[in-house]
Symmetry: C2
Subunit: 207 residues, 2 copies
DNA sequence: GTCTATACTTTGATAGAC
DNA sequence: GTCTATCAAAGTATAGAC
């Protein structure tokens, strides 16, 4: 039995992800949550902005769990990154290109319009970066390079989401995934790299 | 002497980029354009959605020119990519992290809510991909790899914009730029690569 | 093409009874 | 905590005179 407050948060998360923050009305949210309108202001006295901030943090925490869920059972970090992008591509396809990053749309919308919401998105991105960086460090990559890789991987995924949703194709996510995978593999200490692509040696692609 | 129609388009582009599509009112746009409110529906009988579509295409065309402006004078394609990201980082800093991609926010907002607008963003992204891919082909990269690189470069930039605007730091754009530069360099035919980083040979970063 | 005025809807938010 | 009723403001869009 889910609480009213949680249902409102879930509903808000769904709408914000698909339609953005400004494009979603609070009435729409509570209606879909089968919650009384007044409950919104009971649980979130700060109104839409407070709801937005909590939705951002909640969605961010769930995605953080997803990172763990994928990295923990993977045999190595390269496989994990590959699985991460492949899973994202599959979700995109299954949801008709609706469900990508839960906070990217909001992040762009509020970056220059609401400091409280912008800070919430910043905290979430930082948490993802830290989590991924730790995995990379555990794979033997230096602290500095691990953070760079984490930022780079998340950026590649976010940008690929933008292109994939607009083009309605999983191609960008797959390409970005391959590139991110390569980058991680190249950053690993040699003996941890495992099977690699045959390196190019001499022959140009052009005549 | 700028026409009223153009001023409305320019004004709309500014607001949409900073506040998003849903977050911007048409009254706000015409007021900032010093245009009569009725002119909006005179020039854009399709209302806000038609205005949005034309803004997307116009902004997309201007950014396409920017690609040419950066790639044409550059001594080589690796330098061009590097300059591209560095220029983006500088613009971000100068505009207090407001001016990143002119259509990314709209693209995410409308991807699942407006087919006409989604198609407009798709056309723009395709035009950028084609333009970049052609540059890469001219540098001796295979057709297929050139397109992959183009998609990957644009995705990395878009995603870095998301992170940079949220974190209010140019770090993500710089990191993504370095990664994209590396990827382009690695894809070049050997004799065109020029000076490279010293390749890692043997010593692990870990004891 | 521009002006003024306005219709109509939806928005976020509140009051007060229960 | 939930209900009903309602608010003022902002949203998009239109009409008709000039």
């Amino acid at each position: 039995m889910t609480g009213t407050r949680d249902r409102i948060l879930d509903s808000g998360g769904e709408f914000f992800r698909r339609q953005g923050y400004a494009g979603t009305g609070v009435k729409q949210i509570v209606e879909a949550a089968s919650a009384p309108f007044a409950s919104l202001y009971h649980f979130f006295p700060g109104g839409k902005e407070q709801l937005g901030a909590e939705v951002i943090r909640r969605s961010g925490a769930m995605y953080l769990q997803l990172i763990d869920l994928i990295f923990t059972p993977a045999p190595d970090v390269v496989t994990a990154v590959s699985n991460f992008f492949n899973g994202a591509a599959e979700t995109l396809r299954q949801t008709d290109y609706a469900d990508a990053c839960p906070i990217a749309t909001i992040a762009l919308e509020v970056a220059s319009t609401s400091e409280p919401l912008r800070e919430a998105t910043a905290e979430v991105f930082e948490s993802w970066i830290s989590a991924a960086a730790q995995r990379f460090r555990e794979a033997g990559i230096s602290t500095r390079k691990a953070r760079e890789l984490a930022i780079y991987m998340i950026a590649a995924l976010e940008g690929a989401f933008v292109l994939s949703r607009a083009l309605r194709s999983t191609e960008p996510v797959k390409i970005a995934g391959a590139a991110a995978t390569d980058a991680v593999r190249a950053a690993l200490p040699e003996r941890r790299r495992g099977p690699q692509k045959r390196p190019r040696t001499g022959t140009s692609t052009r005549a």
